[in-house]
């Protein structure tokens, strides 16, 4: 079975401060990991995926297979980063996502 855990339901940081949203997973195989974001009154959208190894809107996430983590990081938070963030896992060869419960990030001006 697979599981995605986001331990923080709410996270508040000041503008310009570093931010880290935690994600841990359990899966016996080699998963694909994703971060999805939902801004206020907008649809769920892909932020980044680990296989791309790219930085989107200043966010990065590294897959740590030893710690089974995929934490999302940004060195300097911006007010427009305030949103709901979901970590998600796709099993190898599968076609659907398993989501965590999400973390609501609030960036304080």
């Amino acid at each position: 079975a697979q599981r995605v855990t986001q331990p923080e339901k709410l996270l508040s940081v000041f503008k310009g401060a570093p931010v880290e949203l935690k994600c841990n997973y359990s899966y016996s195989g080699s998963p694909e990991l994703f971060w999805y974001v939902q801004y206020s009154r907008q649809r769920l959208q892909l932020l980044l995926r680990h296989i791309s190894r790219e930085s989107i809107k200043g966010f990065t996430a590294d897959l740590n297979k030893g710690e089974t983590s995929f934490h999302l990081k940004k060195p300097f938070a911006q007010e427009e980063d305030s949103a709901m963030y979901y970590c998600a896992l796709m099993r190898a060869g599968a076609n659907n996502l398993f989501f965590g419960t999400g973390t609501r990030l609030t960036v304080i001006p």
Partner: protein, 119 residues
């Protein structure tokens, strides 16, 4: 380009009734998935269809069913509604490459959802 479109956006049903939710994928996308998102939780996978065939099913009772049409649009049906079925129902579409499943490597795009309230 239009994104994934869903209808209706909101609806209220009574326990025991049946509901049909509709989804149109992004043009050119052949795969549609359905997710249920209960308040305070992440989306939970219900079904996935590709080329009109069911390719995946989550842990949901048989009251939930779906189908995909030749134009790749999809319907989700829920029978004998329970209060616990109240949720946001999300449709997602994926552009598949040549070859069969896997869908790994394809971005999954979500619609805005249909809010279902069962009273």
């Amino acid at each position: 380009d239009a994104g994934v479109t869903q209808s209706p956006t909101h609806l209220i049903k009574t326990r025991g009734q049946q509901v049909t939710l509709r989804c149109s994928p992004i043009s050119g996308h052949k795969s549609v998935s359905w997710y249920q998102q209960v308040l305070g939780q992440g989306p939970q996978f219900i079904f996935q269809y590709y080329e009109k065939e069911e390719r995946g099913r989550g842990n949901f009772p048989d009251r939930f069913s779906a189908r995909q049409f030749p134009n790749y649009s999809s319907e989700l049906n829920v029978n004998a509604l329970l209060l616990g079925d109240s949720a946001l129902y999300l449709c997602a579409s994926t552009k598949t490459g040549t070859g069969a499943v896997p869908f790994s490597g394809n971005t999954i795009y979500f619609g805005e959802g249909s809010w279902l309230t069962v009273v």
